[in-house]
């Protein structure tokens, strides 16, 4: 039984048909002691099947220490969304509801190489010269 329904899948494929360059979903999970682990992994893997330009790699949080360090993962389930480069984009937990839509938009933006921000925002962001870490707490509504 899939987590993504048939009608939903048609809609997602349609949205992802706008992809240009490949995007990778890099998922970190843990088999034991993780209440939402299986569901998160299944959702990401189903999503990965929605476009030829989308690929998924899944790593084991306690075992694949090199990857965990490479991506700076400190909790699971975690999903890195990246294109040819890692831009520091992570989702911790199950991206359900409204947040699933955010993930789709982010995949498209990375694939098209355009953040979609206004020119004046890009200008202000260019002025950031020190590391900046944003942690946005969300709930699936």
């Amino acid at each position: 039984m899939g987590l993504i329904g048939d009608e939903e899948a048609v809609e997602i494929r349609e949205r992802l048909s706008g992809m240009v360059n490949p995007v990778q979903l890099i998922h970190f999970t843990q088999e034991l002691n993780l209440e939402y682990g299986r569901e998160a992994r299944q959702l990401i893997e189903e999503l990965g099947g929605m476009s030829d330009k989308l690929s998924v790699r899944t790593f084991n949080f306690p075992l694949d220490k090199d990857r965990v360090a490479e991506y700076g993962i400190d909790k699971v389930p975690a999903t890195v969304i990246r294109n040819e480069k890692d831009h520091g984009i992570r989702f911790y937990g199950i991206p359900a509801g409204y947040e699933f839509s955010t993930i789709l938009e982010t995949i498209l933006a990375l694939s098209q190489g355009d953040s979609g921000l206004k020119p004046e925002s890009k200008e202000k962001l260019a002025g950031v010269t020190k590391p900046l870490h944003l942690e946005v707490f969300v709930t699936p509504t």
Binding site: G88, Y92, T106, S121, K130, E135, F137, T139
Partner: protein
């Protein structure tokens, strides 16, 4: 959330995590997340709510000035 990801796309020094609050209750309580979205900046300042692009960016940059950085891990 979408805006934070966009900021991360446009500047390599910026990274953006979305954290599903109910799945990480300890972290949510440490950062006193009672309403979402709540954006924690450099683990020392925060911006509350869902805001328009220019207002959110200005709030984040202002908060970053108050929370200059995280201790090295």
């Amino acid at each position: 959330m979408r805006l934070a990801y966009s900021f991360a796309m446009d500047n390599d020094l910026i990274r953006a995590d979305a954290i599903e609050a109910s799945e990480f209750p300890e972290l949510s309580s440490r950062y006193r997340v009672y309403a979402v979205p709540r954006t924690i900046i450099n683990r020392g300042a925060y911006v509350e709510g869902s805001l328009p692009e220019n207002i959110f960016l200005d709030a984040v940059l202002k908060a970053a000035a108050r929370a200059p950085g995280e201790p090295a891990p």
